[in-house]
Amino acid sequence: MTILLQTNPNNQDDRNTEEQSNHWAIPWHAYLLVLPAVSLIAVLFGGGLVLAFLQSIGLMGLTSTGAVSLDAYQQALTSRQFWQSLGLSLYIALTATAISTVLSIGLALLLLRAGRWASFACQLTLPIPHLVGIAGILLLLSPSGVLSRVLVHLGWISSDQDFPLLVNDRANLGVMLHFLWKEIPFVTLILLAVLRGIRPEYGMQARALGASRWKCFWTVTLPLLRPGIISASLIVFGFVFGSFEVPFLLGSTFPKTLPVLVYQAFTDLDLNQRSVAIALGLLLSGVSISLIALYLWLGSGKPFRRVMRRAQG
């Protein structure tokens, strides 16, 4: 729907434009109407953030002295571990998102004409909890797992020590494999739904005018898919970046991802570490929110248009 509106701005009827011109004249009771929804979000989400912030600057909590102190942030930001963890989290989240998005675009295009069973197949992995997936990966890929035993049995390797380490490894291959297994069907499902909503006439028109298949993909299909790609990859990135149990159980011993570091600080026996844990958690949210904002800004195409305009002017 939004795609059609964006590509055919002239189709909007008069009533629509009139409403838009009245955009700022919102009657007072409209605010009252959104109050329940807004207050729920403000109290549960905003309130939590405020309480967390107060604890992180030492104004609340069991060990609070009642004075504002940025010690927790200083301790978090000056530790080498924080930067290593941030790097690892970004690496895992960006790689997993990029790979699953690219593979899903291809898969969705392949499955476009496959009928309903394709959507059904993509939904199969959705209800499986991450913990079950982790257990499956451990059973299959750990050095004494099924795959390793089969290889030993076939005589390809002589003992479990020859099997490559695929879980809790330094490169976090196990974490990556788990996320790809879980996220590719998810992204594909979303892209399939978007693809099915795109009118085939655009592509046919382009082909009739002499565009190659490749050119048709780049200039027609991909731009029309963009909203779906952006929203799906955002969900994947946000989830993977903040995911705890997968890197905790399948990830490397050192460095740890940021959520694992937060958990470790929060379960530290020293009560003073709790404010550091909360500061770390808020930093994690901050990084995540700003990256998503940056991505949305880039994805909207505005910055590129501005550059183009400047180049033209």
Binding site: L32, L35, S39, S144, T253, F266, L271
Partner: protein, 418 residues
């Protein structure tokens, strides 16, 4: 279309009104009267039992072992129901620190009574944390009749990680942190850390420990500190000794770094949890590990670990690591928590969980204070126990001030793993 808009608008008005009404009603409510607090200093045991009768008790305990859960849901729940008509609600947690966090969170949020946890299975650092925040109910153990079966001068139950218990904890389980080896593959068992290093060099990839700061991993670091720097006695004081730590810590770091390349997977990675370590041992990936006696006994009894598994102590380094139960200050049912704590400390409770087919957890009671009949039963179970418990116990030493463990964890993260 218009009727739909109307509906939606009406719905929104209704929900807004409901929202405001709730807030208004909430303001109107008189403040709840403070419930009368139970004072253990003036209570008798009969009063406690009477208060607890017919209630429910919430017991937060580590829930990662099927046999322990069966013991709690089976024998303990039955006894509570039959003797006191108390219903047991087991609150399974992944790590005791979760219960500690819950209590802290509740008290911070103003819930100073009526909390969700009545009794916590606890020891060491977690006990220190709750004492540090003044979050424990007590002292209460002087009321419990079960404590008559314990030696009041035994440092094993009067201190917890160097911190005096002072009646805030009731003894629960004995536990030895020792070594286990599969004798089908290990011919000579190392007796100290030098021999352990030699063994690891001769058998690359067949030994490892849980990654600290996970509970088990931190215990291994502590045994290493004892074994490498000349024994436990120097650390036994109530306070952390900074100068001593500065002087000795580098020995531990050097040793662990030297050991790392000969560990499982070349020390590139460590098992993240105790269960994963036991799995590695059960699958034959590693041939030697450090673990707690109940895990080893349970593993041998259930057949999860090879029948050729043997436990042995590193004399003067392996740990005697008892655990306790304690009542948070905001417990909603401290009376029933005291009854449960008493049941767990009682000779009958200690005997039941000592049986290897039940759990295999070593008792803390002083057997000389028991009736001859009970004493015989304890000796009988000991004879059936798969491990030479008495001999192992003699070689173990207590756990010291938790600050050493915290420093060891930091040292491991910065100098060994990093």
């Amino acid at each position: 279309m218009s009727s739909f808009v109307l509906h939606r608008r009406r719905f929104l008005y209704l929900s807004a009104a409901a929202c405001l009404a709730t807030v208004a009603a909430g303001c109107d409510r008189p403040p709840t009267s403070p419930t009368t607090r139970l004072d253990p200093a003036t209570l008798t045991w009969d009063e406690v039992v009477e208060l607890a009768r017919g209630t429910t008790v919430n017991w937060a305990m580590w829930g990662g072992s099927d046999v322990i859960n069966r013991f709690a849901d089976g024998w303990v729940a039955q006894q509570l129901q039959q003797q006191y008509e108390i219903t047991l609600n087991r609150v399974p947690i992944n790590d005791t620190v979760e219960a500690v966090n819950k209590v802290i969170g509740e008290v911070q949020a103003g819930l100073t009574s009526g909390g969700s946890i009545d009794l916590i299975w606890i020891n060491g650092e977690n006990f220190r944390t709750l004492r540090q925040g003044d979050l424990l109910f007590g002292p209460f153990t002087q009321v419990l009749p079960a404590l008559d079966s314990y030696d009041p001068d035994d440092p094993l139950i009067t201190t917890d990680f160097g911190l005096p218990v002072e009646g805030y904890e009731s003894p629960y389980t004995g536990s030895l942190y020792v070594m286990a080896a599969d004798t089908a593959r290990v011919t000579t068992q190392p007796q100290n850390f030098e021999e352990l290093l030699d063994w690891a060099i001769a058998n690359p990839g067949r030994f490892t420990y849980v990654a600290p700061p996970a509970f088990d991993g931190s215990r291994f670091l502590l045994t290493a500190l004892y074994g490498l720097t000349g024994g436990y006695e120097q650390y036994a004081g109530n306070e952390f000794d900074e100068a001593l730590w500065e002087q000795n810590s580098s020995l531990v770091a050097d040793y662990l770094s030297e050991l790392a390349p000969h560990l499982w997977r070349g020390g590139q990675t460590y098992p993240p949890t105790q269960n994963r370590l036991l799995e590695l041992f059960a699958n034959g990936e590693i041939w030697m590990m450090s673990a707690f006696t109940p895990n080893i006994a349970e593993g041998i009894t259930t057949g999860q670990l090879p029948s050729t598994t043997e436990a042995f102590a590193l004399p003067g380094s392996s740990l005697n690591d008892p655990s306790f139960t304690a009542i948070p200050t905001n417990a909603s049912n401290p009376a029933a928590a005291m009854v449960l704590a008493n049941l767990l400390s009682s000779p009958e409770g200690q005997l039941e969980k000592f049986k290897p087919e039940v759990w295999g957890s070593p008792p803390l009671v002083d057997r000389d204070r028991l009736s001859p009949d009970l004493k015989t039963q304890f000796d009988q179970v000991e004879a059936d126990y798969g491990l030479p418990l008495q001999a192992l116990t003699e070689d173990t030493v207590p756990v010291v001030n938790a600050e050493y463990t915290t420093r060891l964890e930091q040292l491991w993260e910065t100098q060994v793993a990093g």
